[in-house]
């Protein structure tokens, strides 16, 4: 970089940082459709907006591109989410495109070796396998799919093939949040938004670590404290984390303690008679699980029955179940009983990756509803998502085995009819039987066909199941006896999944393609392609359309609409079809825009109304429902179900849960009985294993481990061990040990009293390191409704490496 340019950029960096600092006590507000004027202007350097590629926070960045490469990243001051600031991963997001080992050509495995082939051949291979056996094909997708990518996959599978074996990796991360919302409000996704973090008096983190996993969001709270505001942070968790370091109170609980704690709070609200009687009387029902076959609908119970069932969850009983002292449960009960303060509950994987995930989600919603801490800024039960579009794509487009776009489900005839009409398909095109959820899909894919393994071809896009599935030895690791199975993986870098792939497709990444994401606060965000992908890497959406068109050419009836046209046909102004299935023509039009305009038709049924595509081009995202005003402008919604902000709430109602599962405008306060975890430490496997993430790496590290500063900061996975446990087992700092469960093993170095501090009897391992697959050890037991596995608790033992194959070292309980 020459010195003049360097000097100029230093000045620009100082202006950028300085403008964040001045302006009194709050960060500057820039209107979403304004340009950001203080970015450096150089010949050949262009700036464009995009949401960050990493987490579900949805920070916006400005991407500086010069000579076809990303050369700068700035936080986007016009973005309400992050107001110009980024975390350490966002800082490095520009570099994710430039790892040395980008996949650039399709690769077919022949006699054990990967050989380069042409795209035409790759598409033909896939189409032929699907054509020959459409029912045994499965599509495994992702919460990192863009909205158009997910929508194309949905239309292809459910509309075109009549095949519901499409499920996302988000099944593993937030499907319990979905079922919790559905069970409570009759419709998915949070009622509140990030503004709750700016307004709450108390923030309760339930088994999550936002200081590391959603740092920009967490800094909104700690920033308030630095300005002298009092915000109490109560961290409820199974181990100390960086969030605990910032917390006012730390409540250490046993696994499944969250269920007991939430029941205990509700018990106290009833026993102390300080629940919000007016709110409950006007806006809530009580619900319990059916005795015989529990469903998400449950059955109505009276308030009297609810009181009876909750009676046994006294603070003392909750202490026995959770390990949290009774006085702390009373403290929580008093807080929730005080309507003069505002309380936000925040959760993520701790409550979702849980065999009682639906139950605990429902219970925490219930705590807020029963106490009336709902529906005004700062009073909110809010689940966060880890992936950038688990909300926007998986949950809203419905890329789940049972779902259809816009909150619809395959089992309902009118929902199927809506979709067939929107897609101009023949009646009966969509299959009414839900497909396999993730664990089932891989169970069937890894079972020999002769034994009933009826998934024989799987296409994986934008995700890494070879590292993220639970119980990897059962669900992924071996191909023995599975020679007739065919795994196709679309990826940007080699991963644990591509290692077993039969066909690898090189994919475009982030700003190498157009895209749209939807973040944790219902904010749909858009970006344009800014740079070309390397080599022959191509858009995932194009791959789906190309496969569909090949099937159309082969005469597959499902690829034709009612008029006999290709289901993804896009025509130019003269009515001529644009051959978007040929990649050289894919960007002759904006395919994203066409797909999104079709998709938005689906969004109104559940009042998740979306604006036209061009509104998202102008904005740094808009929170649905987005409705058009009399003056033609589009207005987003910050608070759903609250009359003051939600345009769909009937005037005079104050609150209205207009998708109530009881069809009376009310939300459901659930009772769920406490149940212990499915696998508990015993004499053979005496420790709890919890898995999770770290600040520096995003999920399986495919992107972040290729960023040298992040990789240097956190080069390897490790096992966090309590110092007393380590001492008792004669295990030293840095020593290599083997974690063993009933399912598999994983070798790791030990870290004692490090960043996270587990209590005695617990170990923690982050899952970002592909050389240390902790999911060899985890359990595939899942929630009965959401089918989401529990990665947070199973039984293991820690064995000194020198003692492997001998009697394992027992750690005193």
């Amino acid at each position: 970089m020459d010195s003049e340019r360097r000097s100029f950029l230093k000045s620009a960096a100082m202006v950028a940082a300085g403008s964040m600092v001045v302006g009194g006590t709050s960060l500057p507000v820039v209107q979403a459709d304004e340009g950001v004027s203080d970015l450096p202007v150089l010949d050949g350097l262009s700036w464009n907006k995009a949401p960050c590629r990493f987490c579900g926070t949805g920070c916006h960045v400005q991407v500086g591109v010069e000579n076809g490469r990303i050369v700068a990243i700035a936080g986007d001051k016009a973005a309400d989410v992050n107001k110009g600031l980024l975390c350490v991963k966002g800082y490095h997001v520009g570099g994710i495109l430039y790892g040395k080992d980008r996949l650039t050509k399709p690769l077919l495995r022949k006699e054990g070796k990967l050989v380069e082939i042409k795209w035409d051949e790759a598409i033909e291979i896939i189409a032929k396998r699907i054509f020959d056996s459409p029912k045994t094909f499965a599509f495994y997708g992702s919460g990192q799919w863009t909205i158009p990518e997910g929508f194309a996959a949905q239309k292809f599978m459910k509309g075109g093939l009549g095949n519901n074996h499409i499920d996302p990796n988000a099944r593993l991360c937030m499907s319990s949040a979905v079922t919790g919302f559905l069970a409570t409000y009759g419709v998915d996704e949070p009622a509140g938004c990030y503004q709750d973090l700016d307004e709450c008096d108390v923030l309760i983190t339930w088994g999550n670590n936002p200081a590391e996993m959603h740092p920009v969001l967490f800094s909104r709270v700690t920033d308030r404290r630095s300005r002298g505001e009092t915000v109490r942070i109560i961290d409820i968790g199974t181990r100390r984390t960086r969030t605990t370091d910032a917390a006012t109170d730390y409540l250490e609980m046993k696994p499944h303690g969250d269920v007991a704690i939430s029941l205990g709070i509700m018990h106290l609200l009833i026993a102390n008679d300080n629940y919000d009687k007016s709110f409950v009387a006007k806006h809530c029902n009580f619900r319990g699980a059916e005795a015989d076959t529990p469903t998400l609908q449950g059955e109505a119970i009276s308030e009297e029955e609810f009181r009876k069932r909750i009676a046994k969850y006294t603070p003392e009983h909750v202490e026995e179940l959770s390990g949290v002292p009774a006085e702390k449960i009373r403290m929580l009960g008093e807080l929730f009983g005080n309507r003069d303060i505002r309380i936000t509950s925040l959760w993520c994987m701790g409550m979702n990756q849980h065999t009682m995930g639906t139950a605990i989600n429902s219970l925490v919603h219930g705590v807020h509803l029963l106490s009336g801490h709902f529906g005004r800024p700062g009073d909110a039960p809010t689940s966060l998502t880890g992936q950038p579009s688990a909300c926007g794509t998986v949950r809203e487009v419905g890329t789940l085995a049972h779902a259809l776009p816009g909150g619809r489900v395959v089992t309902k005839p009118d929902h199927r009819q809506h979709c067939e009409e929107f897609w101009n398909l023949r009646a009966g095109s969509i299959n009414e039987v839900p497909g396999y959820h993730t664990v089932q899909m891989f169970e069937h894919f890894t079972k020999p066909t002769a034994e009933g393994g009826d998934i024989t071809t799987m296409l994986v896009q934008v995700t890494n199941p070879g590292q993220t599935l639970p119980n990897l030895n059962a669900l992924f690791n071996s191909k023995k006896g599975l020679e007739d199975k065919f795994l196709i993986v679309s990826e940007v870098y080699p991963t644990a999944t591509t290692q077993l792939a039969d066909l690898i497709l090189p994919a475009a990444l982030w700003v190498e393609k157009n895209g749209m994401f939807g973040n944790s606060e219902r904010r749909t965000q858009q970006w344009f392609k800014m740079v070309d992908p390397p080599g022959e890497a191509r858009d995932d959406c194009w791959m789906t359309i190309a496969i569909a068109h090949k099937l159309f050419e082969m005469g597959h009836e499902g690829m034709k609409d009612k008029n006999g046209e290709f289901i993804f046909a896009i025509k130019d102004a003269d009515g001529k079809e644009i051959p978007i299935w040929q990649f050289e023509h894919y960007y002759d039009t904006n395919v994203d825009k066409h797909l999104f305009e079709e998709y938005r038709l689906f969004s109104t049924m559940k009042h998740k109304n979306l604006a036209p595509y061009d509104e998202y081009v102008k904005a740094r995202g808009l929170r649905w429902p987005v409705v058009q005003q009399d003056d033609g402008s589009w207005r987003e919604t910050r608070y759903r179900f609250s009359e003051f902000d939600d345009p769909f709430v009937t005037k005079g109602q104050e609150f209205e849960f207009y998708h109530s599962s009881s069809n009376d405008g009310r939300a459901q306060i659930w009772f769920h009985e406490y149940a212990p975890p499915p696998e508990i430490p015993d004499k053979d496997y005496p420790l709890w294993l919890c898995t999770g993430r770290v600040l520096e790496h995003w999920h399986t590290g495919t992107l972040t481990r290729r960023l040298s500063p992040l990789n240097r900061a956190m080069p390897t996975a490790y096992v966090e061990m309590n110092s007393e446990d380590a001492k008792a087992a004669n295990i030293r700092q840095g020593e290599k040990v083997v974690i063993e469960s009933r399912r598999g093993t994983c070798e790791l170095p030990v870290w004692i009293d490090g960043r996270g501090r587990p209590p005695r009897g617990t170990v923690f391992v982050p899952f970002f390191d592909e050389t240390k697959l902790i999911n060899n050890c985890t359990l595939e037991a899942h929630d009965p409704f959401s089918k989401q596995p529990d990665y947070k608790k199973c039984a293991v033992r820690v064995v000194k490496k020198t003692e492997v194959k001998k009697t394992p070292v027992k750690v005193p309980s």
């Binding site: 970089m1 950029l9 230093k10 620009a12 960096a13 100082m14 950028a16 940082a17 300085g18 403008s19 964040m20 600092v21 001045v22 009194g24 000579n67 490469r69 990303i70 050369v71 700068a72 990243i73 700035a74 936080g75 110009g84 600031l85 980024l86 975390c87 350490v88 800082y91 520009g94 570099g95 430039y98 790892g99 040395k100 200081a211 740092p215 920009v216 967490f218 800094s219 700690t222 920033d223 404290r225 630095s226 300005r227 370091d245 910032a246 600040l695 290729r706 960023l707 040298s708 500063p709 240097r712 900061a713 956190m714 080069p715 490790y718 700092q733 170095p749 870290w751 490090g754 960043r755």
Partner: protein, 101 residues
């Protein structure tokens, strides 16, 4: 929040570094910047840091280093200063050479 890092006591992998980013950062202190004169002085002593304006608990700085490794070291050092509770990025610019990870 970028809380104070605690590093694993195990060898870090040091790779050959190449040319560098320039970054504009916002340092947030626990209280008004004026109450953290020592920390600000410590920042001034780092030759690669330019100090910018401050307001309330926030201070603008620019980091311009020879290597990515040094950039990361300084980031870590700033985070560990007494009274610093957050470090966030406003802008980073980097070279082509930088990007072959």
């Amino acid at each position: 929040m970028l809380a104070k890092p605690q590093f694993p006591t195990m060898p870090l992998l040091f790779t050959k570094a190449s040319a560098v980013p320039i970054s504009g950062l916002v340092v947030t202190f626990q209280s008004a910047v004026t109450e953290h004169a020592e920390a600000v002085e410590a920042l001034r002593m780092i030759p690669e840091i330019d100090i910018g304006e401050s307001a309330g608990s926030k201070l603008a700085i620019v980091i311009d280093t020879e290597t990515k490794r040094r950039d990361q070291e300084i980031w870590n050092a700033v985070q560990q200063l007494p009274g610093v509770i957050d470090l966030a990025l406003a802008m980073v610019a980097f070279d082509e050479d930088d990007q072959a990870n």
